[in-house]
């Protein structure tokens, strides 16, 4: 880069230097520019293929080592990289030292891809992937409503296959499990009694049949590591 401008006295060199000075070089608008463009995801815009991505709801399941701070690592990653997360559940598996984290996210396809890849980089994450669309998902909700009309509450509870877990003179607490849409409907039905408090776990999920829930996981082995041969 040093070219002709030598490190000795500048005067003579400056005069001998006939390279265009910064201000004499072609201005931005005088330069040729390609017509092509990329979209926000860095994909070349192809007029034939629409490359815009709409966010969609995805269930991500991860098998993790149950070590201190693993949840903080996952949730920290989600917040640091601004992933849109709807829920996150975590619980032990039948294998000592392994837990399953289930996350529901609302992201574009490239965003979902990034979540999976960034989670895979976390040391305690054994395997991670999106659960196939036809997965079994279920969540649990505890719902405390006013108890003025116990019979009516009981009827609605039965209608939604719920269970009464606590009943007092002023409030009744019911437990509901199932798919998100069914739970949303049930909550709608309970609203007329007056909902005092609510606690929802968010969905947890498993893949159907022989499909592994997280990639590399062997179905039917309750989450043993992939190297473990259980057949």
């Amino acid at each position: 880069m040093s070219g002709e401008s030598s490190a000795s006295a500048p005067g003579a060199d400056a005069a001998a230097d006939d390279r265009p000075m910064p201000g004499e070089q072609p201005a931005p608008e005088e330069r040729a520019h390609p017509a092509g463009r990329r979209n926000l995801e860095g994909i070349r815009i192809d007029p034939v293929v629409e490359a815009e991505h709409e966010p969609r709801r995805a269930v991500i399941s991860a098998l993790v080592e149950d070590e201190p701070g693993v949840l903080a690592r996952v949730s920290g990653l989600v917040s640091r990289r601004q992933f849109n997360i709807e829920s996150l559940t975590v619980g032990p598996t039948t294998v000592d030292g392994h837990s399953r984290i289930t996350m529901v996210v609302e992201e574009t396809d490239p965003g979902i891809d990034q979540i999976e890849k960034q989670m895979a980089k976390l040391k305690p994450v054994i395997s991670v992937g999106e659960v196939a669309g036809d997965a079994v998902t279920s969540e649990l909700v505890l719902l405390k409503v006013r108890g003025e009309d116990p019979a009516a509450v009981q009827a609605v509870t039965e209608m939604y296959d719920g269970r009464t877990v606590d009943a007092g003179p002023e409030t009744i607490t019911v437990e509901l499990t199932g798919h998100k849409s069914g739970i949303d409907n049930a909550i709608g039905a309970f609203e007329r009694f007056g909902i005092v408090e609510i606690a929802r776990t968010g969905p947890t999920a498993l893949a159907r049949g022989n499909t592994p829930t997280a990639p590399g996981e062997k179905p039917g082995t309750a989450g043993e590591p992939t190297t473990h041969d259980s057949s």
């Binding site: 880069m1 040093s2 070219g3 401008s5 030598s6 490190a7 000795s8 006295a9 500048p10 005067g11 060199d13 400056a14 230097d17 390279r19 265009p20 000075m21 910064p22 201000g23 070089q25 072609p26 201005a27 931005p28 608008e29 330069r31 040729a32 520019h33 390609p34 017509a35 092509g36 463009r37 990329r38 979209n39 926000l40 995801e41 860095g42 994909i43 070349r44 201190p68 701070g69 903080a72 690592r73 920290g76 990653l77 640091r80 490239p110 891809d113 990034q114 890849k117 960034q118 895979a120 980089k121 976390l122 040391k123 054994i126």
Partner: protein, 599 residues
């Protein structure tokens, strides 16, 4: 941070104020025998991993580890501030190609490391930080000098560990060291509660390896390599983009072979400076916000971009919509998460840069027909050269100082910088030809990186028996003020390095932006008074020089290079000089401004 007075444990007071201890090198032989404490196990793990040098600052909670270092082969450099220790370790790692090692005590010692750890994280530099922690039984009680170091550093490390016992701590440290350099390098940290390092153990750590799944296959998928090779063969305007990953993977030779064998012009990123010789006809220097006009023209017009070891930072890409808009992208990276993170990769090749470049070189059977494109690139070089005016009636130009140093030194000279205008001039007006000669803070942009980095680079070169290499730190006046206390380390250790302060009495890059985008309101960027850095250097015990005019430049440089020890030259340069060319934030690379009025 070495205040031990209020430590919760009584026995620690003993010996804390021991006046004179014999110098480390009095004991030459490493502790080869069985270990007896957790701290000895830590040091044994470090020695087994090949660590030769550590940078750090003493303090209450880390004292057991330091005590074990007393009889170790590891050379410990005591720094003035923990931030300096982290930057020195980082730079040591860059130059030596081994993970750097830094130590600090709990609380403020650990938090002072944070900037340096974050810097290493952003630049994917392998580094291990060991921090003292209050004894396990006090953790969570807000004990004296307690900080949740694992919590604080979780988002800026590859992984961090809380040591949970004397029997396992050595193996944990060994694993952390290996993890730092496995796959995509980065910083790791082990937090060491004082009871863990003090407790007895007879467990000598075994050979360490990185955790399962963190050391990926170096080879890219063979079919994917073939597909990428076909795309390269049919390209008309191919361009290589070599990032810092090329240097980290020691892939510079493979990169040179690939580009030359196929006649593909090369641009680098800033961290990739030195991966390809800038005096090669194929080289277009580096692209991005203050990159060369020709590099930015090439990246704008290429139809096939072969990117290696780069994460497509916004300072490189400018606006994504106009970045290499017509290029098919071949992206080689060891980290799958970088593929299509910012720019969509048409041909992702996941693997080690060196290995994959070798695969690709073998797979491309016919070099692309790109003679016209190469001519075009050469024409851009002539049209948009890096230049600056040197009128006699204006103050000394900073670019001139950089060129003068380059001319006076050999190709193996190591350059470190702070962050700001001086950093850009040091990267633009110096011709880099070798990897690991450019040591800077890229991703995090840490002002103050330069001086401690020069210390780390000098120590690394000495450790590699390359004491005859020059180490030059280009610093700004603002950057120098942030970490200049590390000059005391350079004097104490008699480190042969030269700090060239390009002093414009401004936070110059901010001043430049204020002139361009804030109607010239110099809020908090104009230092109305600066210390006299040459006299300050003398007070530290270094050689201090001051330069105001062109004809003083060469003699001062000569005197500095001849001097055996640290030198500070305070170059009073043109305060109004701007860094050009410039792609405004989010702008199109091809629309770089070459003059202030184009911004």
């Amino acid at each position: 941070m070495s205040d031990t007075a209020a430590q919760p444990r009584e026995e620690e007071a003993d010996g804390a104020d021991d006046p004179e201890q014999p110098a480390n090198d009095a004991v030459d032989t490493p502790a080869a025998g069985p270990v007896s404490t957790g701290a000895e196990s830590v040091v044994a793990a470090l020695e087994a991993a090949g660590a030769e040098t550590a940078f750090g600052v003493q303090g209450g909670a880390i004292m057991p580890v330091y005590d074990a270092l007393y009889s170790s082969s590891i050379n410990h450099v005591t720094m003035a501030h923990e931030q300096g220790a982290a930057h020195a370790a980082d730079a040591y790692g860059v130059v030596a190609g081994e993970p750097g090692l830094c130590l600090a005590t709990s609380g403020p010692g650990a938090t002072n490391l944070v900037t340096g750890i974050a810097d290493a994280d952003m630049d994917s530099d392998a580094m291990l930080a060991l921090t003292g922690q209050v004894p396990t039984e006090f953790v969570g009680n807000d004990a004296f000098q307690e900080t949740d170091t694992v919590g604080v550093t979780r988002p800026i490390t590859k992984h961090n560990y809380f040591a949970d016992g004397a029997d396992t701590v050595g193996d944990t440290v060994g694993e952390a060291f290996e993890l730092a350099r496995a796959g995509r390098p980065g910083p790791t940290l082990v937090d060491l509660p004082k009871d863990v390092t003090q407790d007895e153990t007879d467990r000598t750590p075994g050979p360490a390896s990185p955790p399962a799944g963190t050391d990926p296959d170096p080879n890219a998928d063979a079919d994917a390599v073939q597909e990428a090779a076909r795309a390269i063969e049919r390209a008309e305007r191919p361009l290589c983009l070599f990032g810092g990953g090329v240097i980290k993977a020691d892939a510079s030779d493979a990169a040179r072979t690939f580009a030359r064998a196929n006649g593909v012009p090369v641009v680098t990123t800033m961290p990739g400076i030195g991966s390809f010789p800038e005096d090669d006809d194929l080289c277009l220097s580096w692209a991005g916000m203050h990159g060369t006009g020709y590099a930015n023209m090439a990246i704008t017009h290429t139809d096939c971009l072969i990117a290696v070891g780069t994460r497509f930072d916004d300072r490189l890409t400018g606006g994504i919509d106009t970045f290499a808009p017509e290029a098919e992208l071949v992206h080689i990276d060891i980290d799958p998460a970088e593929i299509s993170k910012n720019v969509y990769a048409d041909y992702p090749l996941i693997g080690d840069a060196k290995r994959v470049l070798e695969q690709l070189t073998a797979a491309v059977s016919e070099a692309p027909d790109a003679e016209a494109w190469r001519d075009q690139c050469t024409e851009w070089k002539e049209t948009y050269p890096l230049t600056y005016a040197t009128p006699d009636d204006e103050p000394l130009k900073p670019q001139f100082v950089v060129e003068a140093f380059d001319e006076a030194t050999d190709d193996d000279t190591i350059v470190t910088t702070g962050v700001g205008q001086h950093q850009m001039w040091a990267s633009q007006f110096w011709t880099y030809t070798e990897p690991r000669t450019w040591v800077s803070s890229h991703g995090l942009g840490t002002m103050g990186y330069g001086v401690p980095a020069a210390v780390g680079a000098r120590v690394a070169a000495n450790a590699m028996d390359e004491a005859d290499r020059d180490v030059i730190c280009f610093d700004g006046d603002g950057s120098f003020l942030m970490t200049m206390q590390e000059l005391s380390v350079a004097v104490r250790e008699n480190l042969d390095l030269t700090i060239a302060v390009l002093n414009n009495e401004y936070i110059g890059m901010v001043r430049q932006w204020q002139d361009a985008f804030y109607e010239g309101r110099h809020m908090a960027s104009d230092y109305t008074w600066m210390p006299e850095f040459d006299k300050l250097a003398e007070a530290f015990g270094a050689l201090g020089l001051r330069v105001d005019d062109y004809d003083e430049v060469a003699p001062a440089i000569e005197e500095a290079l001849d001097y055996e020890g640290p030198v500070v030259i305070d170059f009073h340069v043109d305060p109004e000089e701007n860094v050009l060319p410039m792609v405004p934030s989010g702008g199109a690379n091809g629309q770089f401004a070459t003059a202030e009025d184009q911004l």
